[in-house]
């Protein structure tokens, strides 16, 4: 179906892909900041197990964030 010369399905895809990518990248990075903050706090109070868990969470989420950035560069390269 077209609306004002624009494919509605394409427009819907733009909306959901953009929303997913935008929310995903911000949430991922916010969780990485959260993990880093908790890791520093746990290190200060000597809770080594918790510190390790939060450090792992922060690193994993930073890797996901980096993946998002690489995906973005790949889109630029494939245009």
């Amino acid at each position: 179906m077209t609306l004002f010369a624009v494919e509605v399905s394409q427009l819907a895809e733009v909306v959901w892909v953009s929303a997913l990518a935008g929310l995903g990248i911000t949430t991922t990075f916010s969780l990485a900041v959260f993990g880093t903050g908790r890791y520093l706090e746990a290190t200060r109070t000597g809770r080594r197990g918790m510190a390790l868990a939060y450090a792992t969470l922060a690193i994993a989420l930073l890797l996901v964030f980096a993946g998002g950035v690489i995906w973005g560069v790949q889109i630029m390269l494939s245009k």
């Binding site: 004002f4 010369a5 624009v6 394409q10 427009l11 895809e13 733009v14 909306v15 892909v17 953009s18 929303a19 997913l20 990518a21 935008g22 929310l23 995903g24 990248i25 911000t26 949430t27 990075f29 916010s30 969780l31 990485a32 900041v33 959260f34 880093t36 903050g37 908790r38 520093l40 706090e41 964030f65 998002g68 950035v69 995906w71 973005g72 560069v73 889109i75 630029m76 390269l77 245009k79």
Partner: protein, 358 residues
């Protein structure tokens, strides 16, 4: 004539760079993620690099907007003048507006003046300008608003120092991605125009590769424009719409990059200026509606609405003048001289007003 077109296209590329610097650096500068000079230097470098990432110039800016067979060098020249004039006017007032829409407007105006309204594909205008112009800011505003609410929820009870440093670091990455994407997209427009001029002049076959000097000069012009920095627009986007904290800056910038690249991936390119402005308003409005200076936002939206008709009017007027002098170089030289004199008078008046104020 070829030299004039190349020089005008590079001048447009330069205005495109300094006009759009704000999209990439305004939030980083206002949240102090980077110093202003470092931010524009990084953005200029990444714009330069970005221009080399893709050389797909087959789809020129006017494709699907005007009848391709009717495009002449004089129409391209007049269109560029319309776009440059609009970029300079909006920069003068510190208003972010789309350089692509200005270029489309300029070419449409020149085309109407040359061949009448039938030479314009009006459905293409709706498809490539009107709908994306509506979708881009609204989508970015909503996604940025939701993103900042989620971000505040996640980091709300963390130490402010960690949160500020974390999001400032994130802005380095999201700002860099934005600049790289801008260089890839926007330098292409100039390369396409110079390539078109070379083909029309018989220097190149339409199937030839883009000459290296075209790529290097386009990349250099957009990078130089970015480094020159449109500080008036940076001030508007960085501090006059909302006063941002690093989390808001990061949300606006990363949502902006995500929306632009996702839309590009789906094949529905959006204006970086519209997306970034919408993202900044969304990140501000979600915290507190009154945090957004809606008067400034209204001026920006008015500038967007005026972009196409105003650049078209200047493009049409420029074409009207050049065609009086025939198809030679006299017309373009007269128009460029007129534009230069107007600019000189505007700067002289500004200097005298500033002198009187002090």
């Amino acid at each position: 004539m070829l030299y004039i077109i190349v020089a005008t296209a590079l001048a447009f590329d330069f205005t495109n760079g300094f006009h759009d610097t704000a999209n990439a650096v305004a939030t980083s500068v206002s949240t102090r993620a980077m110093s202003p000079r470092v931010a524009v230097a990084l953005s200029a470098t990444l714009n330069f690099v970005g221009a080399f990432l893709s050389l797909e110039v087959a789809a020129t800016i006017a494709k699907g907007i005007v009848e391709a067979g009717d495009v002449t060098l004089l129409i391209v020249f007049a269109g560029l003048i319309g776009a440059i004039a609009w970029n300079l006017v909006t920069w003068w007032f510190g208003l972010p507006s789309s350089s692509s829409h200005a270029l489309i407007g300029g070419i449409v105006g020149a085309m109407v003046a040359a061949n009448g309204p039938d030479a314009v594909i009006w459905s293409g205008i709706v498809q490539k300008v009107a709908i994306p112009g509506l979708v881009a800011p609204v989508l970015a505003l909503l996604v940025a608003a939701m993103s900042i609410l989620i971000a505040y929820r996640i980091v709300g009870h963390q130490s402010p120092g960690v949160v500020t440093r974390g999001f400032r670091l994130g802005q380095l990455v999201s700002g860099s991605l934005f600049s790289l994407s801008h260089g890839t997209n926007d330098a292409q427009k100039t390369m396409g125009i110079i390539f078109l001029a070379l083909v029309a002049n018989g220097n190149l076959a339409s199937t030839a590769d883009v000459p290296v000097w075209v790529v290097v000069s386009s990349a250099s012009a957009i990078a130089a424009g970015t480094y020159a920095g449109g500080w008036r627009i940076i001030r508007t986007m960085g501090t006059r719409i909302i006063k941002m904290d690093p989390a808001q800056g990061f949300a606006a910038q990363s949502v902006g990059a995500a929306v632009i690249l996702s839309a590009s991936h789906v094949g529905f390119p959006l204006s970086t200026t519209h997306v970034m402005s919408g993202g900044i308003m969304g990140a501000g409005a979600a915290k507190r509606l009154s945090a957004v200076r809606w008067g400034v936002a209204g001026n920006i939206v008015t500038a967007w609405l005026l972009t196409l008709p105003c650049s078209a009017a200047v493009g049409a007027a420029a074409y009207g003048v050049v065609q009086i002098f025939g198809t030679g170089t006299a017309g373009p030289i007269v128009v460029l001289t007129g534009l230069s004199i107007t600019l000189a008078l505007a700067f002289a008046r500004r200097a005298s007003v500033a002198g009187e104020a002090t």
